[in-house]
Amino acid sequence: MDWGRTQFFWAEVAQNFTRNAAMALTAIGTVAISIVVLGVFLFARSSFNLLLNNVVNKVDIAVYLKDEATPADIDTMMRQLRADPRVDNVRFVSKQEALETLRKRLAGQVNLGLINVNPLPNSFVVHTIDPGDVPPLAGELQAKPQVAFVNYGSKVTEKLLVIRRVLGTIGLGVIVLLLVATALIIYNTIRLTVFARQREITIMQLVGATNWTIRWPFVFEGLLTGLAGGLIGLLVLWPAYQTLAPKLTLNLPFLPLNLADVSVGHIALELVLVGAVVGMLASWLSVSRYLRPA
């Protein structure tokens, strides 16, 4: 591209902004507002997912072994569990350890000195990477001959897992709907800015401009509008997050939620991308509609 044409292109983009300033600003403002709404929802969803995961992740499987299990059996099982790709970590709790723990917990309430045999079994505490693997893995372990019984608070855990699945699906649905709504709002706003220049587009065609010569500055303008709207949206969201997040964590200390773990940077990037991409596509589609086939 030679310098004259590049200059012409940028001058066109700049003129579209400066000579239709009110319209351009309205479009940017509208994009910014829809990005803020989308941002709040994305953040809420991320926090909520994090919260649920934190709750569900607390679930462990306690595997109580029969007294007949030899140290060799225990060793083999330990190795098998460690090798299992679903397993995050495994801890062996010996009879003695279990008794010590119980002693400490009941200290001053019950005199365990009276007991001279240890009734507690050896056990494993297994933590899985995905909480969803807890029920099937527990079932498999229960089937082993050395295992006396397995406990993972099955009723509660299964309910939590169902809740997580349902809420996850609903959340995804809401986000998809909201994304569609945001895209439509941005599309319509930009379509109006193009519509206002329908006559100009026709004239450009009549004086011999090719469709691409007309289209590119518009597409670029759409991209910049989306980008500007997205960035302004972020400028609103960021301070709001900075001030509100700590308060939220303070006021809800019973929730196992650390808002610092929400990937805010990721969400920010998504928002700006949504603005830019939708803005560009919107311009593209709108101009193409007014570029009458000659």
Partner: protein
Amino acid sequence: MIVFEDVSLVYPNGVHALSNISLNVARGEFLFLVGSTGQGKSSVLKCIYREACPTSGDVVVDDWRLSTLPHGKVPFLRRKVGVVFQDFKLLRGKTVWENVAYALQVTGATSRDVARRVPRALELVGIAHKSKMFPHELSGGEQQRTAIARSLVNNPLIMLCDEPTGNLDPETSSEIMALLARINSKGTTVVVATHNQASVDRMRRRVVRLVHGRIAHDEERGRYHVGLG
């Protein structure tokens, strides 16, 4: 340069605008297209720059057969054909200078070319002193001149003018007509749709009269009204 081969044009709403028009305009010719309003003058011009496509028949412009011209070529046809529209069709958001430059810039002209040719066109039509103004700040005659400057800035083979003196006072009208004659004398084929009787009678060029979309009369060195002299 321009050939109409038995052209008929029916608009989508069913109006028969042109019926069996056959016409041959030679390179460098100056032609008046006359007829009262609604007789099809603008429609003839639209067929030349492909804003309208004949329902039957064909138009050939500088060896380009328009019925088979691909869509992608239409912009290039329009660069050969400078059009001065009845309603000027200036870009509102651009100054006089920018309006004229635009027609050049879309052809991929370098900025040096633009800087050289735009002032020349503006001076030729006598609007250079208003080059920083926007169309709404201009009088009708000044807008007309801007439109003419835009249509000739990239040296078109053909210039089409749709009622270029439509709303102008007699004095400005003759200036504009003189300007068109000057452009024609440099080799550009010029077709002017008009009902400005005075200019037509004074200039004595080829006159084609349209009545109800048909050619009623075609005369070299003609007058506005047939049989009056």
